[in-house]
Each structure stands twice: as structure tokens, then as C-alpha cells.
Amino acid sequence: MTAPIIRGMGHSVKRKEDARFLRGKGTYIDDVKLPGMLYMDIVRSPYAHANITKIDASKALALPGVLAVITGKDLDAAGLAWMPTLMGDKQMVLPIDRVVYQAQEVAAVIATERYIAADAVALVEVEYEPLQPVIDPFKALQADSPLVRPDREQKTNHIWHWEAGDAAQTDAAFQQAEVVIQQDLYIPRIHVSSIETCGCVASFDKVAGKLTIYMTTQAPHVIRTVFSLVSGIPEHKIRVISPDIGGGFGGKVPVYPGYVIATVASLQTGHPIKWIEDRSENLQADSFARDYHISAELAAKRDGTIQALRVKTLADHGAFDAAANPSKFPAGLFSIITGSYNLDAAHVEVDGVYTNKPPGGVAYRCSFRVTEAVHTIERLVDRLAQELHMDPADVRFKNFIQPEQFPYKSPTGWEYDSGNYPAALRKAMEKVGYADLRREQAEKRARGDLMGIGISTFTEIVGAGPSHTFDILGIKMFDSAEIRVHPTGSAIVRIGVQSQGQGHETTFAQIVAEELGLPVENITVEHGDTDTAPYGLGTYASRSTPTAGAATAVAARKIREKAKHIAAHLLEVSPDDLEWTDHQFQVKGAPSRVVTMTQIAFAAYTNHPQGMEAGLEAVDYYDPPNLTFPFGAYICVVDIDRGTGAVTIRRFVAVDDCGNIINPMIVEGQIHGGLTMGMAPSLMEAITYDENGNMQQGTLMEYLLPTAMETPAWETDKTTTPSPHHPFGAKGVGESATVGAPPAIANAVVDALSHLGVTHMDIPITPWAVYSILEQAGAAEV
């Protein structure tokens, strides 16, 4: 009997979900339509900081089709004017008397039609008394600064202090250092700006007493629990459904006030309520990413050996600490900042600060604060190379954690699972033709032309997490899978994580196919419905494969163990006489005596051994023993226009190592997207505020998402270093490229200008920043 064709691990299986997306048959949030549905639109504050003296809704309520105008006072009466954030802070749902950032929700209008709701928003009259806004986080800490949050007991804009590593040991290393590199870096505020904005349809069934919320969320189960705790509605009476999600990248992890207000409106009216953000609302009010002001120092020997790292950071969190980090990690996993290098000591401090800006501190397609960390260390290593007149590749080779050092304990306390950093960099250098490029650069430089080569050899930290350390609001960061094999040999898998384009319906089916020997096309994957899927923490921080992927494999192995007993029964041998070969059970030494999983599945319902439970299913809640540490080596080549300062990425080679790969096609796609979202904040995207707290990039005309014309043709390759603790050796990949790309680009630009005395440029690197250097150095085209 020939083995079944299953197309499991390592196959570039075409995506199952594409069937509906290609035909325009996806169901995104705005596609959900329910009978009797009403529309919600939101009145927002033009001011960053103001007292609300009056809200007059009479004109809005007089408009035909308007059913209600909800204000903070209405919510306050129900005890819902504030909600808890994931970081132990609280956040206004609707303000009672004060707004604390521009575009903050002030009131909500409920109307029969979308267009009428928009008209009514314009008719709600709000009187404000503007207050001095707190914009600069450094000034926010001065004694005379206005308070962003007078509601708090502590009368300061300082939120928290966090640190990792050994201060004394680090200071000692610095005292003896032969070379100290100091660099300030600002990693600007940016926005994920998924092409689909956020929204929900909240529907309360009064008869059943059940609340169903369709919501653009990356974490439906946690949302259900939080909604239950806040509203008092029993958790079994709440169903959260994540429909198809038009991109998440971290921006769809938080609970936005709109979700809560729509839910309250549905509870009050008994009608389904639809709320869909427009793009300006999304850009101006939804959670931001980054906004880290970093001051870093590196201690090294003259020969280029790096010894210690010391970092102080001010984190601008906006008006509420509504970041989406694990509870014990207010600065996320920023302490991965020692990167791929073997340091003796490190000490990292972060202070969180309130300002009159939207809350957040979510990811931008990166694991918690890893991008900020990687940018810092990769820039410092380049600065060290420049200082010592060494090639940046050589400095890296000299300082890499060596393959035999894994598992490696970092000075800030992480245990890296596996890695081979020199191999990845060597591969990238070969692929890009590093030596030739350096020769070309020297020739060009002699002619006055500018080109640069930038390296980034990053280490990611993903897959939170071991539950002893990682939780969100007390809920441990495990993840789950449930598999049921049907009698005819097909199966359904339900998982606790939520796809936003990663292709879970395909890759999780491949995991099961591999583990159970069932053809991939016979396996259905479901997620996103809290009534049916097992409890999980959701998809962000590249955790799906490390956690739910592992759970899926472990659940499948539980099934396989039972299947073995059924196979033994069918073959009339002892289970110990069987081996799992070519995705089927075979009697040891008798290759012709086999049973397939399809045969076993049928027997599980029709002919199972007496004394055994019928059926073939299993569930697993997987608590990873450690995080996983994907890594990569990126090399970027840029050309600079001396007349405009424009930076063009000529080539970009990305060698990634994410352990064993389920679907190479999907992994490559993830890397392409991640690289693009790494390039964007390096050269284009940034959010800035004027002195009044006006966000200056409130539309996609000013917030610059790259098009196909700015995006280079990415070149990808891989090395494979399996994770030793993951059931099938995978590590997670969705965000590696976003984390790894920015320093490669920044390093390339600095490299192009290094002979002019340039040692650092903050991102985004604008053409005028480059031009100003050229002009001062007399290198501009005239």
C-alpha cells in the first residue's frame, strides 16, 4: 500500500483561505450585516487637552433617524466611563469632563443609517476650554508640567520605572573599558495602519440574554474575559467572533472605546450596532507603536571585543498606559537588547511617561519592544566598527554568541534556545557579494558618488510565553488546539490564535497532516469564535506557531497515541510491535502490514477495541518551556542622490532562520511583508505632533505607507536551526523582518556618509536630513 500524499511540514501548500478572498467572499467586519442593525459614529475632540464644559445633543437628536447620543455621563451612570487597560492602568471610554488627546472619543451617535450618523456627529455641540497640552515627554517630567492624569493618586506624569540586568557589574565594566560608544536614538511613534481599519458589530439578544460581538481583534478570548469582568455579564453569555481580519500587526490587540460604546448601545437599544472607524480616526486615535527615547552606551576593548551595554530610555505612552505587553513586562522584551552578541554585562532602564497623545505602545509587526532593542544594539555595533576602523561584519563575527554556546544565558536573563549567527551572516555576505560591493563603494567614493552597505544581525524573542513568567491580566500565556478526526478520515482543528493574513487555515492543517498522516486538503481549521474555539491568548508577537502550533502538534500526537492502539487492534498485534513510518502505522519488519490514519479513523467509530472510548479527538493547552529566538542576517545596499538627498534601496538580502518551516511559501511572504514594514519607518513613516498636540499625519496623504514603487524587490534566503524545545523545531517568523530591517537600512545610509564624518542618523531618514549633511560637507550636487 502506498503512503498517502499528505503535504505536511515543509510543503509550499497553496492557501485554503484564498478561495474566498480571491472571489471577494471574505467576511470582514464591515461585511457583517444583521437584521435591525443600527450605526454608530463618534464625536471626537479637536483638542489634545481641554475641559469639556458642555455637550448639547439636542440638534443631533432632532435629526430624523437619530436614536441616541451617548456621553461619558451616560456611561458613568452604568459604571462604564472607564475601563481597565492591559497594563493595569485605566482608560476613559468616554470622558466625563476632560479630554486628554486629540481625536479622543467624546460622544457617540446611534442612527438608522451610516450617513445619518455622520450628519448627527456634526450636530453634536461640544464646548471646550482648552488646556495646555503636554507634548514633550522630557518636559512632562519637569515639576512645572501640567498633569495629564489628575485622576491618579500620584501627582506626576511618571508612570513606572523598570530595569533589567546588573547595574553594578555593568558600571564596573564601563569603568575599565578601553572604548566607550555613546549614542542617543529616538525610535519614533508609528502606526500599523492595516488597510482594514477597526470596527465591530455588537448584538445583544435580549431573549437569550446573550451578547455577540463581531470584532476586529487579534485576541478574541481575552476580550471576552475582559468584557465579562467589566460588564458583569456571565462569560458564557458573551460570544466574541473575529471575522476575517484585514491586517492586524498589533493594532488590533487593544480594546478601543468604540467597541465598548457599541456594546453598551446594543445592550440599551436591543439592536445590533455597527461601528467602523474611518482612516483618520484609525490614524489619530488608535494605539501607536514605539516612541522610545533611548540613550545607550557600549563598552569595548580596542580589539573590538564588546564587553557591556548600558541603556536608559524614556517611553512616551500617551495619556493612558494601554500598551499590550505581558503584565510583568511594562517595557516588553526590551531587555533582548544585548542581541546576538556575547556580552559580560548589561543594564537597561526604562521610564514610562504620560503625555497628551493617544495611548498605546503596541507592536508594529514586532514582538514586544524588540524592534527598539534591535535597532539600538545594531546601530551601536556599527558605531563601534566605525570608531575602531573595522569592517562592521568583522566586529560582528568577533562578538557573536557561538553555536556551541547555546542554550545561552544573556546578561539580562534570557536563555536563547538555539542559533548559528556566523553561518547566517556568511550566507548573506555571499549572496549579496559583500567584497565586490565594498570595492564598488571605494571606487564610487573616489568619484564622489555615494553608496552604502548596511548589516543587521538581529536576534528576535518570540512565542510568549512560559506561563511562570508571562501573563496578560493574570491569564497565563499558553495557547491551545483541539482536533477531532471524523470517521472518514477528515478532521477539524480549532485553535486559540487568530489569523490576520498569516494563513493559519493552511499551516495548521499542514501540522495536523504531518502528525496524523491525513491529506492536508481533508483538514479544516477554525478560529476566532469564542463559542467554538478553545481558549487562547491570540496572535501577536509571532506567537502562533511557537504556542498554538506546538499545541496542535501535541494534540495530534495524543491522537496518534490512541490511533496506535486502534491500529494494533486492526492488525491484531501489540502496539509495541508498531512503528509510525511514512505517515502510517506499520508492523515492525513487515512493510506490507500497514494501516492508514483514514482506516484508523473509521475504526475509531465503527470497530474500536472493547474497553476503549470511541472517537478520535484531543485537546492541548501548550505552555512553552521557553521563548524561541529566531534570528537573521540582513544586508542592505543603498544609493544616495546627491542633488536631493533621496535614499534608494538598490538591494536587500535577508537571510532568516526561524527553525523548521511549515510552509516555505508563506514564510517567504511573511518576510517580504515584514521587510516592507521595516523599511517604512526607516525611510518614510513617523507620527509627529505640533505644539498644540495636533497629530500631523492624520490621513494616508501624510502618513506614508510605501507603494510598490518605493519597495525594493526583496531577496530572501534561509538557514535552519531548529528550536530544541518546540515540538517540531519551529520558532515563529512573522515579525523578524520588521525587527531586523531598520538597522540594516540606517547602517547602510550612515555607511554611505561615514567618510563625511557621519556616525548616526535617526529614523525615518528623510532626504532633507541626508541633504543637510551633504551640504555641510560640501558633497551636495550643485
Binding site: 471626537r44 475632540s45 479637536p46 483638542y47 461640544v126 498644540n692 500631523q696 499625519q697 490621513t699
Partner: protein
Amino acid sequence: MHFQGEQTINTSVEKVWAFFMDPNAVAQCAPGFQSMEILGPDHFKPKLAIGVGAVKVTFTLDVTLEDMREPSHAAMAAHGMAAGSGVDMRAAMDLTPESATTTHMNWTADVNVSGTLASMGARLLEGVAHKQTDNFFSCLREKLEAAPA
């Protein structure tokens, strides 16, 4: 945004002051003036269609006069909301008689625009606001000089 300017008006300082005490007269110089509600001697609500070309937003401004020192100094604060935007302005002028029939005026205006107009119109806002503020003050001069002696 901070704007300032000065001009010499061929009218006595008393006439200039008297003109400013007449909100209906001053309002004629306000950009896109449509109508006005007078709530008191120092409190008015003019309705203005502010904008240029295709861009036009109708604001009802709440204007109060403050720090009035006849005949040398006057100031006003104005605040209005429309189309998801807020406009806040403080303007002041100092009058110095140069002769019996000429008056020197120094003026300053601080204009803050928030919300949609600020984020949508940022690239053009300063230029347009500057021009409209300039126009307002030069219109005052023209009206004063055109008034019958």
C-alpha cells in the same frame, strides 16, 4: 501660529477707537462674514464662512473683547468649532496717534487651529491664515479711511 503687523491709518485715533467699538463695522472685515448675534457690548457671535477656493468651513465664533484701554489698546479672544475642527484666536492692537489725523497701529494675532483642518490642511494652513489675518487688518484700515470724515 503667530502673526503681527503694523500700519498707519489716515484717521484720528478717536475715530479708530470708535470704529472698533462697533462690532457690525468690524465684522464687515472678518473673512467670509455672514451674520452676527450681539450678546453684549463686548460679546458677539459672528458666523463666518472661512476658507479659500473649494475649501470652506462655516464657523460660529464666540468673540469677547478684553483688556480694553481707550483709546490705546484693545484685545479680543475668539473661539469656534466646525467640521471636527477648533479655531482659537487671540488678537491685540495698540494704537498710537501719529498726528491729529493719522494713527499708528501695531497688531498681533495668535491663531490655533485644531482637529481636521489642522491635520488635513497643515501644508497650506499657515499661508492662508496669515493672508486672511493680514487682509482683516488692512480691510480695517481701508474701511476707516473710506469712512466720511
